[in-house]
């Protein structure tokens, strides 16, 4: 029965992955990364259920904490670049190349 949850987790991960690749706004890109992390959480919890061990549920908590820390750093960086450029588009920030 847990297969459905795994399929859902894979779908969420894929949506997040595609979102990172096609979206242009840094905030949205970052939200897609968070979606991928949550897909991982769903997979961990499902496997914990499937394997009959609690580790997966504990891991999900660790991942949440790390994701929260990542939000702090990420928003700080994106807000700084937005204040400088008046734009949060990842296409505009293109001074570094070649």
């Amino acid at each position: 029965m847990t297969t459905h949850y795994l399929v859902l987790s894979a779908l969420l991960f894929a949506i997040g992955g595609v979102g990172v690749l096609v979206r242009r706004n840094a905030i949205v890109v970052f939200m897609c990364v968070e979606l991928m992390l949550n897909a991982c959480n769903l997979a961990f919890v499902t496997f914990a259920r499937q394997n009959g061990s609690l580790d997966g549920q504990v891991i999900a908590f660790f991942v949440m904490i790390v994701a929260a820390a990542e939000v702090v750093i990420g928003l700080a960086i994106i807000v700084t670049i937005f204040r400088t450029r008046r734009s949060a588009s990842v296409d505009d920030a293109s001074l570094l190349k070649h």
């Binding site: 990364v33 991928m36 496997f47 750093i73 570094l96």
Partner: protein, 517 residues
Amino acid sequence: MNGTIPAPTIEYGMLAPLLVVFGAAIVGVLVEAFAPRYLRSAIHLPITLLSLLISFGLIVWQWIEGVPTKAAAMGAIAVDGPAMFIWGTILVLAFVSVLLINDEGHFVGSAAAVPGSAEEEQALYEGAAHTEVYPLVLFAVGGMMLFPAANDLLIAFVALEVMSLPLYLLCGLARRRRLLSQEAAMKYFLLGAFSSAFFLYGTAMIYGYANSLDLAKIGATLGTVGGQDMLLYLGGAMISVGLLFKIGGAPFQAWKPDVYQGAPTPITALMASGTLIAAFGALVRVFWVALGGLDWDWRPVFYGVAVLTMLVGAILAITQTDIKRMLAYSSIAHGGFLLIGVIATGSAQAQNTSALSGILFYLVAYGFTTVGAFAVVTMVRDAGGEAWHLSRWAGLGKRSPLLAGVFAFFLLAFAGIPLTSGFFGKYAIFQAAVTGGALSLVIVGVVASAVAAFFYVRVIVLMFFSDPAADGPSVVLPSRGTAAVVGLAALATVVLGVFPQPVLDLAHSAAQSLFVR
């Protein structure tokens, strides 16, 4: 599930080197909160340097007492020969990088102020400084130490983030060329978070397969669980994406030049040496201990990645016109050479030991040279900051022969010319690969080295055999810290090149017991 939960045992003595660094980082945060502004950097510097020294001292002491081989903290953190060797290397390189970081004029006064605004001028006028840099560096160093010692995929993920998150911020704190610096921070952050999501999903797949995250238990499960190979292969592939991103293996190398160029140069020095070492330690541990039984499957993949990485690094470096980007591509190429060592395993333990000790020696040699090279970059300056464009370096050898000579020496070490440390690093890895049966890879490696030597020599020719521009960059008189860094790096490059045996022996004895299982 009933009954009492036994209290975990934690070997504080063995983990003391890690705890000292993390403890000092937390003290640094408290200093930021409570110490008056004018005292902060005077407090931070001794705390940072002392904690790195004490941690190094503890490692030396444990080493003399007898190298432990144990998975400490309930099997979460491996304290073994390779881990301790890597810890020592990272601590020395971090100490040297902190001396560079301490130099004035690398970091922005107020990162929140918009570049060119009145607030920024005000912050500069008041002499504001982000002294948070020191605790952030300590957290990053702590993460770098934890990452290669993680004996559990969850700890590896947490360590990966503890190492990376401070670095994302530090990348955006350059005083000059702030737009480039902020852009580098954003690119590094978005791509780093993306790749660590892959690492985590791979971890979830492996957990589903093996019902454990412990590397040794995963290794023991391989082949005993039937019908779920898909999970295992998916998991292994995604974990390798996360790890290869951190070492900058092709095709995940695109972030490296941008980030190395945009970040403040002392932070680039720390990243180029410390992150690469930590990530290689973790890569080797995960693929040898947890997925060692799958080597028939991952070896061809790594073979391709190594070839691609070496060629991409060496060929694209030729087209670069920016000194920091060129060094970044050179770092990519060196990552490719190191990957040869990862593949050079065999069924015999002696083969694995010689491959591992080759990797360890290479990491030491490359780490010192690269910190020295970036230290030289901080000293060649224009009116607008460091002179990055290669054309500005023309004729440097006529203007300041000593500095140009030292830089040329570092470049020769990168190229792997005999009598420099780079030669013995490459020799150790190539030799292990030849006895491990990866002769074709060694041939590609030698060809890539020859291509790489071309652009190193091109810079040397530019420095010594072309006329200096009339308005060329000036070479600043280095502070004592920077001079010490360049001197130490040059000394290490010479000593490891002329008299490598003690360090080779040390690496060999570290690799002797291989990884704890």
